[in-house]
Amino acid sequence: MANKVYQRVYTQLEAITKATVALRATGVSNDELATVHGRLAQVVKTKGDTVTLQVFSGTEGIPTNAEVAFLGAPPTLKVSDQLSGRFFDAYGHPIDGGPEVEGEERQIGGPSVNPYKRRQPSQLIPTGIAGIDLNNTIVSGQKIPFFADPDQPYNAVMADVALRADVDKIILGGMGLSNDDYLAFRHAFEGAGALEKIISFVNTTEEPPVERLLIPDMALTAAEYFAVDKNEKVLVLLTDMTLYADALSIVSNRMDQIPSKDSMPGSLYSDLAKIYEKAVQLPSGGSITIIAVTTLNDGDITHAIPDNTGYITEGQLFLRADADSGKVIIDPFRSLSRLKQLVQGKQTRDDHSQVMNAGVRLYADAQNAKTKLENGFDLSDYDHRCLAYAKEYATRLLSIDVNIKIDEMLDTAWELFAKYFSKAETGIKQTFIDKYWKG
């Protein structure tokens, strides 16, 4: 933070809303930090001599004669190897009882990577979950969210994925985490004995919502340090981005901006893109992969938050409860990994993409059979076989509690094909049938 000598102090507020205060001040720079009544705030608007500040922790109890001190610089994070294994709040202060981190002070929310300097993502990130590895393979440098209703165990799945992924650093950005979920993450990380490669920035539901706006930039500034400066493979977990977007709408509302769809700010797309586009494969070998969570309202993906997210990210992993198998599965129809073809059959077995397609297509046939059944039509022998296949496919492959190697996933799929279908019904290329058919 800036030297006390240069601080300019004011004591007359002109306006106060729930998230912002305005006052007359000069020489203030855009994005600069300030303290208002001891609370951290940031300049979001200047108009003539009037400066509007967004107060991160809310304005409750702030009087019109509150002391406002400008700090001369935008929010920063001190980066060094000392970040490893530590838990921080939205301002980058330790919340694990440890000492402050020493290191180079960097502005958060820095510039974008020159697109020409990027490399095409090409490293597979295995997770052990077949719904991901088999059907929606994730690649380093990718950005992909879980789309899930609030009752789905998305945080637990994400912790599993993170701990199994072969990466150098895992950075958790928790926004509006319930205290229970925060402790669950902490417990999972400590239990896995992987604490030294994990860094967490956490804002819990007990803390003010506007603080959340700092979390992704903090997490990604730390990620860029390790990926760019140290050439490491970094995985960033952001949960829950819906709560982040809600915080954006609170601030824009308090600043009297005209809302667009679903009362979200008109800049929602750009705001989210600035975060997600930090995912990158660098020429030096370092990479940032982002796995996020976007909670849905009753599976509605047309809401502005999931909709804008879908246009930005490279696919989505859709969690839902499956009635047939009684498991939570990764829905093969509504999930997609746009980068999967960069690794499938290249870093995995040659039959990967054909087996994936056949598996999903037969599962779709089972859904048609189900519709027929519901509408009271007679089922053919093929329909019955599809239904039996679907149940086993959901249990053994789509369920999120699966943890096997990719070759095992492929073998399981072949086993199911042989059990329920003829060779021709799978529609798989003859050369693979000859090589892998289990009969």
């Binding site: 000069t26 979001v44 001599d49 974008s112 990027r118 095409q120 440098g141 586009e277 047309t302 909709d307």
Partner: protein, 584 residues
Amino acid sequence: MKTTGIVTGIVSNLVTVRVDGPVAENEICYITLDDTALMAEVIKVTGKNASVQVFESTRGLKNGDKVEFQGRMLEATLGPGLLTGVYDGLLNDLTTMKDVFLKRGEYTDPLDHTKLWDFTPIAAPGDKVVAADWLGEVKEGWLPHKIMVPFSFKGEFTVKSVAPAGQYTIDKEVAVLVNEEGEEVPVCMWQKWPVKVAVKGYKEKPRPSRIMETGVRVIDTLNPIAEGGTGFIPGPFGCGKTVLQHAIAKQGDAEVIVMAACGERANEVVEIFTEFPELIDPHTGRHLMERTTIICNTSNMPVAAREASVYTAMTICEYYRAMGLKCLLLADSTSRWAQALREMSNRMEELPGADAFPVDLSAIISNFYARAGMVVLNNGQTGAVTFIGTVSPAGGNLKEPVTESTKKAARCFYALEQNRADQKRYPAVNPIDSYSKYLEYPEIQAYLDETVEPGWTNKVSRAKNIIRQGRDAAEQINILGDDGVPMAYHETFWKSELVDFVILQQDAFDPIDSLCPMERQQFMLDLVLDICAKEFSFENFEECRNYFKEMINLLRQMNYSEFHGESFEKYVKELNNLLESNGK
């Protein structure tokens, strides 16, 4: 003397400046921040206050910072070397920047001033010339790149001298012109043009009269786009917009392709410049990259420059069109451009239109689409800019302002459908809702009669009708059950599936099927329509389904085989056997 001003207000990238002199709408200014200068554009003036949109992050900017106005609009530098380039929305060369991260205030020259070009004169001393007339040419890749009288020159000029054939840099004075006042004006190989103004300098803009082949059946056969035509592709995320656009970029029958990645994913741009240098243009056998320029303002780059990027891309196309070349502009996606307009309008606290978009959105979009077109140049040669934009409708709902405004402006509509994408029926272009107005043009009908076969447009309508009838039949079958409808319904339905699987669907990743020349499209459509004209007899619907499934499989295998090659003919024979076993 230049107008100057000082910053008096900042909201995100909208900055208010108090000015001490005249300023123009869309005038460019630089705001001094420490030791860098940030480029900005005037978008509104009220009294002494100009509202400017800054093309960079405004972090750290202060009230009182100095601003200098440039007396010009946002300009593109045009000259040989633009092809193969990768630029940002303001035409800064991204390949010559040193850092991994974009540096604020770093502006790079789009052209290489040291490279030598083989110059050949075209004009001769004494010639009378006007703006956009050709003075000479250099070879850019395999294309003749014309050196023209700069577009901004007004009135008639007399050529005094033209440099002899030889190798020169773009800064070489290649011609001297004399204006009507008798003053000498030198001309070099590059010129500047304000991107938001349409390049004129042609004799007339007739109606398009030829089609532009893309090798994609659902476009060329069913809804062809004209050379110099306009089209747009709306669709929810995950429906294959990008794959379809890349297919058009790879296969489109154009001499110059400009791809504007406007507010989209950076990794998609990486895909283009990783793969394109390896790919071969099917029309010329040359590397695709040699005819391609990438304008890339990805979603995390500054919003105002995103708005500029589509204009920059269009200006480059117009520049090459003036050389008598066929250009194709692909913009992905114009919704992001519209959103950039919305963000600015919002910050200026303008009264919003539908969905908070600016009220003049529709006018802005149609003005932009109007810049495409075929033109007859002053020397009688023709050039064309074909424009295809993608639209990303919020929530996949086509009743939103950007889609609706674009529908009014573009002549071709390729609606991508979630349902088809879910069923993996790619390209997921809805065959019923999509249209090409060009099919109604008498010029285009005559062209198709001549180049494909007489009565071709009637055949296309027949194919569309089969799909429509199939949809109706499918609905009846769904309501009444397989056994509840007459056999004819099943036959109608499966005939539409035949058209769907064999003509509409196409594998963009298969080396043969991905590119289907017009001759082949004609052969397949004729074949399928002949089959559909037959009447079949089946005992039950299972037999009907299996029969058509087998037929579809054979025809798809034909699509995957080399045209009239050995295995292709084998499948034709098998198909004939199958047809003889049933069908009258």
